[in-house]
Symmetry: C2
Subunit: 204 residues, 2 copies
């Protein structure tokens, strides 16, 4: 693509670094911004993302102070930890309204293909949270992908020596799904890990 | 969507104003930026879009001075104007390398559905460019859509009284297309507006 203006070229190149954004989409964004009156707001909020946002010292969730609202909430069950990949998963689980424990955000998944090893993730701090004995159960809530399962298994090996119950979120047929379209792996696990019918509709 | 941080919520809302961006995509962009080290560049270039970019006084193209490089280029044919919708169309035509005249950027198309009337477009300045007699031909290069054709027809009515040749870019079968998949309207016009074979491969 050839641009008549250096600034537009720079802007397109910068926007094209956003995930899933190519040069054509970037140009669409840039031309939209040129037409807008109030672009200062976008520039300002991007700066704020760096200056005002912090990561919680305890669970590494995104927050605006040193410890996040979830960790400081005394009503929540301090003995229950849910390990998730990133902030979006915290949001997703919070939106269910069914979880009242704390979180631990790993900041990614082990992926040799993308060069992410255990050292890049918040695993050491997870282990150190289990040492004082206040945590009774850790729920692994990671993606049901190759990377997610690898990370779950790595955490299982690391956490097993500690005095803590380890569990993982249930894999099975999604609510609303039809059996005939489910893949074999999912259907197989849903049969192997079948649940007593009495717990089926219970909400903790 | 519920966010634990006001700043993230604001950032998502602001990004979601970009064309074709929903809240999920906006959140993806925001989380990407939080992970990035250098977000200042994006904030800076967005500010620059407003401060350093101007619209050419003559053709309304985006540029960095009062008159754009195309209008000031003495080698280009000053008697030929190509009317386009926006900056992207200038880029597209420039990329063909086959047009050596000047441009006139309308800044949109007449669209009653979207509340865009002739008064919102750079039509008055187009007409005033034709009054001194220096422009011999105006090529209408607008989209082959309802809005594009409406605008072309409006411009035709406005420009007809002036002493200027009006033409429109050819509609027909796109290069590489197969006839059997062409729609009737396109195929019909390509037969009605058939060209002498001798001009077929000529390049001006």
């Amino acid at each position: 693509m050839q641009f008549s203006s250096k600034i537009i070229e720079q802007a397109v190149d910068t926007f094209a670094q956003l995930p899933g954004v190519g040069k054509k989409t970037a140009l669409r964004y840039v031309l939209h911004l040129i037409k807008q009156n109030d672009t200062e707001q976008l520039a300002q909020i991007i700066t704020q993302l760096k200056t005002d946002l912090k990561f919680c010292n305890k669970c590494h969730n995104i927050c605006e102070s040193t410890v996040c609202d979830i960790c400081t909430n005394a009503v929540r069950d301090q003995s229950l930890l849910c390990v998730v990949q990133d902030y979006r998963d915290v949001m997703a689980i919070e939106n269910t309204g069914l979880y009242k424990g704390l979180y631990h955000v790993l900041g990614g998944l082990i992926s040799p293909m993308e060069g992410v090893g255990p050292g890049h993730l918040n695993i050491e701090s997870l282990i150190s949270r289990t040492t004082d004995g206040s945590v009774k159960e850790i729920i692994l809530a990671l993606n049901a992908t190759m990377e997610g399962e690898t990370t779950s298994f790595y955490l299982y090996r690391k956490l097993a020596p500690h005095n803590v119950n380890l569990s993982a979120i249930a894999r099975g047929i999604a609510v609303g799904d039809e059996l005939e379209y489910a893949d074999e792996a999912t259907l197989g696990r849903s049969i192997t890990n079948r649940q007593p019918f009495s717990t089926f509709f219970s909400v903790k």
